[in-house]
Each structure stands twice: as C-alpha cells, then as structure tokens.
C-alpha cells in the first residue's frame, strides 16, 4: 500500500521530520498563546459551530440568498457539480477573456479540483503567488499542509530550490529568499490579466466574500487583473455579516496562532466606475464535488463545518511524524482522513480512516468542534460494512472469532488458560519487531478472585486502603 510506503519514506527523512517537528510545535505554541487572549474561547467555538450547523441545515436557502445578493453586486455565479465542471468553467472563462498570465492566490479548493493541471492542458500555466504555494510550484510538488503548503521543507532546501530555479545566490536568509520570490512575483502581478483566488467565508446577506492572508498576494490577485475568479466550496457560506466576528476570532488563532491575519479582504461585486479599483468581472464558482452528499446525516454533515485552519494537522501525532504527502490526498491529517473518503469515495481512500490512533487531539483543537474521532469511527464502520478497499479476510475472521469467544465466558477462560499454560503470546510480528510482549500473568484475575477469602474480597478499596 502506498500509504505505508510513503509514511516509511517520511519517517526515514530526517530533514522532513525536523522541519515538521519545528513548524507544528511552533504553530501549536502560538495557537495556545493566541487563544489565551480570548475571554471565552469555548463559547466562541460553540457559537461558531452553531452558526455552521444552522447554515448547513438550510444550505439551499443561504446559497440562494448569497448568489442573489452577489449577482446584484455584479458578480457572475457559476455552479460546478464536480471537479471536471469547475475546471471547465474556469478554463472557459480564461479563454474567453483571452488571459495570458494568470496569478493565483492560495486555494485548497483549487488543489482539490486539480485546477493547475486542467489549465495546463489548455496551454495556460497559472502562477502561484502565495510564498508557500510558489515554493511548491517551483519544486513540482503538492501542498503537504492546509495553511502551510511547504511545511515539509527546510530553509536550506528552499534556498537550494531558489538558487536553481530563480538563479539567485544561495542564501538561507529568510528575508533574502522572500525578497527574491517577491521580485519574481511582482513582475507577474503587473502583467496578469486574470486572478484566481479561494474564499474563506461568503456572506449570504450581502453577497460579500472574505479572503484572509498574510502576504498581500491575495489582495493583488483579486484587485489588479481585470478578471477575478473566486472558487469556493458550497459550505463556505455563512448567513450574516456579523457572523464574521466569531470566525475572525477563531480562524487566524487556530491556523497560524495569529490574533488576526495581516490582510482581510472583503470583496463585494465588481468596480462600478472606470476610476475605481478592482476587477471588471468577478466570477464566483460554487463547487459541490461531493459536499451535498455529506449533508444527509448529522455525523457526516459536521465535516462541512471545517474552516480549513489546519490546527488538527499541527496537533495530530500521526501527521507530526509523517507529514502530509504520505496521506496521498489533497487534504492531509485528521480532517483530510475524514474529508477525502467522503469527497473521492470510500473505495479509493479506505485506508485513510485508519491512519489515526484515535487519540482525540484533533477534536480538542478544532475551532468548530468537529468530532473527528467519531467521524473516523463512522467511516471505519462503512469501510467494513461495504467491503471497501483491500480484502480483510484474516481481520474479519479474527474479529468474528474474538466476538464468539468474548460472548462465552467459559470458552474465554479456557482459551486464556491454554495460552497461560503454554505461555503463548499472539503471533504478531508487526508488534514484536519493535516491541517486547510480556507473557500473560501466571494467574488470572478470576483465579485470584475465587481464591480470596470471602471477607478479603469484600472490597478492593479496603485492600488498597491496607487496613
């Protein structure tokens, strides 16, 4: 299985593990410090989740309201059932507008639909302008983290990459590297005739979209070119402008540990007079791509409450060891392990719900209280019930036998007695290759319980109390 192979490769890559450990630890520490400045963090999480639940319960209504209001401000609305439709819509707009240079700000939805590859097939290569995405694009890789796409790279690796691709003198000075990227990108911004962005929140009552970022590249992407295409999952809509208050408290703090991102761009419609700033055309592409399927049941519906902060990745002990690429999916980490099977189908991602120790650290940090462990368990049950993914004949047999034995206490005692007598430990090379396995205790708890005198067995706590 590629997951195991890729995870092993990651575990054997000291640079990757060092970069990951440093970055996820830093994000975690910053997050803790940032949430301390919110008087009622738990209350904020509950309010945000309630808003998301309300929206998702009436998503059709809020989407109609959002699109009607966005349309009124001059935006053009496009509905995409799946990735192919979304790519077709965006590709067609680019061609109709005769776009030659396309700049793009960070968007996980665009990764989800593999937009760059689709545009490349039309002979168009968009330039990623988020620094992390730019690094990934230069390296010919995919993002390994929702908010920090190049989290798996060390500064040294980035320096070598820039020296090779941008022809600058090798330097591992962060400022010099950033300046080199900025210089290369500014030129592209100046000549760009189309900008593609994602969306963090879409406000139904005003038709406004909000984009959060730190580098200013999203603002340039959405304001300099004469055409702006915003790609959003249908779950990004929220009812009221005032709802942004709570989400602006939660998202930057959970994502990068900032009290607020450096830029918050609120975009409503197109420019009205020639002397105004902003694009002549704004196209908003609403992407379903499997999302409406998740609305059916409350357990899966909560997946759509995700605001893509990445906090669960930073907190996940599995992600912290192997990074994002091993998951083999656009969305990595705990949220990726629950989103991906629902987006691309259980059959193609049956391994992902099992890529977790179910420790629950993800649920603790999630700003909208998504019960990721419950979702993982739900998806595991679906994998087993629908026989998705690989054959599990031995495992099925093992669990059937386990249940049969556990339902019969006499049989259970007999089996354990034999194991005790013959000092049998389960044949588990996957365990014993790295860990010792202690033999069973010579006497079982039951035997001791029976042997104890009546007055002694009266109370375990009296025994511990030693009276």
């Amino acid at each position: 299985m590629t997951f195991d192979r890729d995870a092993r490769a990651a575990l054997n890559d000291p640079q990757l593990r060092g970069a990951l450990r440093q970055a996820t630890t830093l994000f975690g520490e910053r997050r803790r410090a940032a949430i301390a400045s919110v008087a009622d963090w738990e209350g904020a999480r509950d309010r945000a989740r309630a808003i998301k639940d309300e929206t998702l319960l009436h998503l059709d209504r809020y989407l109609e309201q959002f699109t009607a209001n966005a349309d009124r401000t001059g935006a053009r609305i496009h509905w995409a059932r799946d990735a192919a439709e979304a790519c077709e819509i965006i590709g067609r707009i680019a061609e109709e507008r005769g776009a030659r240079t396309i700049v793009k700000s960070k968007s996980m939805a665009s990764e989800e639909i593999h937009l760059n590859a689709a545009l490349a097939r039309r002979g168009i290569e968009p330039i990623e302008t988020d620094l992390g995405e730019y690094i990934i694009q230069l390296a010919g890789e995919t993002p390994s983290h929702i908010v920090a796409p190049a989290i798996h790279k060390t500064r040294g690796q980035i320096a070598a990459l820039f020296a090779e691709k941008l022809g600058i003198a090798p330097s591992d000075d962060a400022e010099a590297l950033t300046a080199a990227a900025r210089q290369a990108l500014r030129r592209r911004f100046a000549e760009a005739d189309l900008g593609i962005s994602g969306v963090n929140f879409a406000v139904a009552e005003t038709g406004t979209i909000l984009i959060l970022e730190n580098e200013g590249n999203a603002r340039l992407t959405t304001s300099l070119p004469r055409t702006h295409i915003a790609l959003m999952g249908i779950e990004k809509v929220i009812p009221r402008f005032a709802d942004l208050e709570v989400f602006l408290q939660l998202l930057p703090r959970s994502g990068t540990g900032q009290v607020l991102t450096a830029y918050q761009s609120l975009l409503t419609g197109v420019k009205r007079r020639p002397e105004d700033e902003g694009p002549e055309q704004l196209h908003i592409v609403l992407l379903d791509n499997g999302r409406s399927r998740m609305l059916a049941a409350p357990v899966t519906r909560q997946s759509l409450a995700c605001i893509r902060c990445g906090a669960c990745l930073n907190a996940c002990p599995v992600y912290r060891q192997i990074g994002g690429h091993a998951y083999g999916s656009v969305y990595a980490g705990p949220i990726g392990a629950v989103l991906t099977p629902q987006l691309i189908g259980l059959e193609r991602a049956a391994h992902l719900p099992y890529a977790s120790s179910l420790c629950g650290a993800c649920r603790d940090v999630c700003p909208v209280k998504i019960d990721i462990p419950a979702l993982l368990l739900h998806l595991r049950a679906e994998v087993i019930e629908r026989h998705a993914g690989k054959q599990r004949l031995l495992e099925r047999l093992a669990f059937r036998s386990y249940a049969a034995v556990m339902a019969r206490p006499r049989l259970y005692e007999w089996v354990m007695g034999i194991a005790r007598l013959l000092r049998i430990t389960p044949p588990l090379p996957a365990w014993t290759k790295w860990r010792d396995l202690r033999p069973l205790a010579p006497r079982s708890f039951r035997d001791e319980w029976r042997a104890d005198a009546v007055d002694e067995k009266r109370s375990l706590y009296d025994v511990t109390h030693n009276r």
Binding site: S356, F399, A407, N466
Partner: protein
C-alpha cells in the same frame, strides 16, 4: 472505604477493539451483553481500571438505534466510572494509604484524558502516595501510539510516536511510568523493555495497592 465489591464472572470484553476497527455488529453484540450483565447487578457504581473501557461504555448509546437500548446504554454509562474518577469524584478519597518509594511519572491515556476529562484525579491520588515523587513529562498528554489495531496496522508510525514518549520518560529519570490503561502500558513497556531500560511500567491500581 465502605464499598462492597462484586465481580460478575460472566463479564469479558467491552467490545472496544471491534468498535474502533469498524466491526459494529460484533461491538453491538458485546455491548448488549455487557449492558445485560451489569444491569442485573444492583450496584451503585461500575468501576473499571481503564479509561478506554469506561469511555467505550459511554459510547454504547451510539451503537443503537432503538430508543429502549439507547436508554439502557445511557443509564448504564451514567454509573460507570474509571478507577481514579470513582475514588476522587465519587468517594472523595485522595489518600488510599499507599506507599511506594521512588520517582513516578503519569502518562495521560488518551481516552481517559480526552473522552472522560480525567487530568487531576490520578495526579491527586499519586501525590498522596507516601515516598513517591511525581514528575511531569513535557509530553504527558501525547498519545503513546498504541491506538488499538493502529499499533499493528501501522507499526512504524506507532513506534515513531512511541519513541517520543519513551525518550521523554528516559530523560525524566523516573523509576516507574504509571498510567490508567493497560494497553498504553503494554505499548510503553514493550518499547522500554526492548531498549533495555530499567524503568518499570505500573498501572495506577498497582501503585495504590503498594505498601512499600
């Protein structure tokens, strides 16, 4: 402490291994069995020396669709307690009169910590153990990498997680690492033993029953 303890010999496993691996029919069968057996006892409290098993009983309700079974599962969960929670929160006992000479550290097992919210309970009990010194690990709350079948489905990731835990334990210079779940202790102990470490793994109940 005034408790009368019963042990029903019909009891076996709570079904968590099946539930956590996705085998719901098997888990549901064992849950029904557990509920029937423990309902038949008139005990005020059902106590388990495992945060994980206790958390499973608290999950039983999710396994059923019909209201009757859900109600029974909920009622049973209401009186099912993890050992440290039972002692501290139900009985109001923090000093059980135990003695153990040595430096101890507490590993927070995930389900006890995050499903049941147990953090201070075991620590309060350990601080009252005569002769024992409680040392905190910087990563006490991190998963040890066991995760049930995860430990054998993805052993290399499991052991990478485990090594962070074990290295912290070794740096802490303790005589024993104590936890509330046998499975974590099997995982941590298995690696400590493989590395030739002298640090012992002990269940909370072992420490609380110790007299020297």
């Amino acid at each position: 402490m005034g408790c009368v303890v019963e042990f029903d010999e019909r009891q076996t496993c709570c079904g968590q291994p099946a539930f956590n691996t996705g085998y719901r029919p098997e888990a549901r069968m064992l849950a029904r069995r557990f509920i029937e057996i423990f309902e038949s006892s008139g005990a005020d409290a059902i106590v388990s020396p495992s945060g994980s098993c206790t958390a499973m009983v608290h999950h039983y309700e999710e396994l059923f669709e019909d209201a009757a079974w859900r109600g029974r599962a909920w009622a049973l969960a209401e009186r099912t307690h993890e050992l440290s929670a039972f002692l501290v929160n139900q009985l109001g006992v923090e000093d059980v009169g135990a003695t153990f000479a040595g430096r101890l550290t507490w590993h927070d097992a995930c389900h006890g910590l995050r499903d049941l919210g147990l953090k201070s309970e075991p620590r309060r009990l350990l601080r009252h153990v005569r002769g024992a010194e409680l040392v905190e690990l910087p990563n006490a709350e991190s998963c040890c990498g066991f995760g049930g079948t995860f430990s054998v489905k993805h052993p290399e990731i499991s052991v990478a997680m485990l090594d962070e835990k074990v290295e912290a334990i070794e740096r802490a210079g303790v005589d024993a690492v104590v936890s509330g779940d046998a499975s974590c202790l099997m995982q941590i102990g298995g690696r400590l033993s493989r590395r030739g470490s002298a640090v012992r793994v002990m269940h909370l109940a072992d420490i609380l029953a110790a007299t020297a």
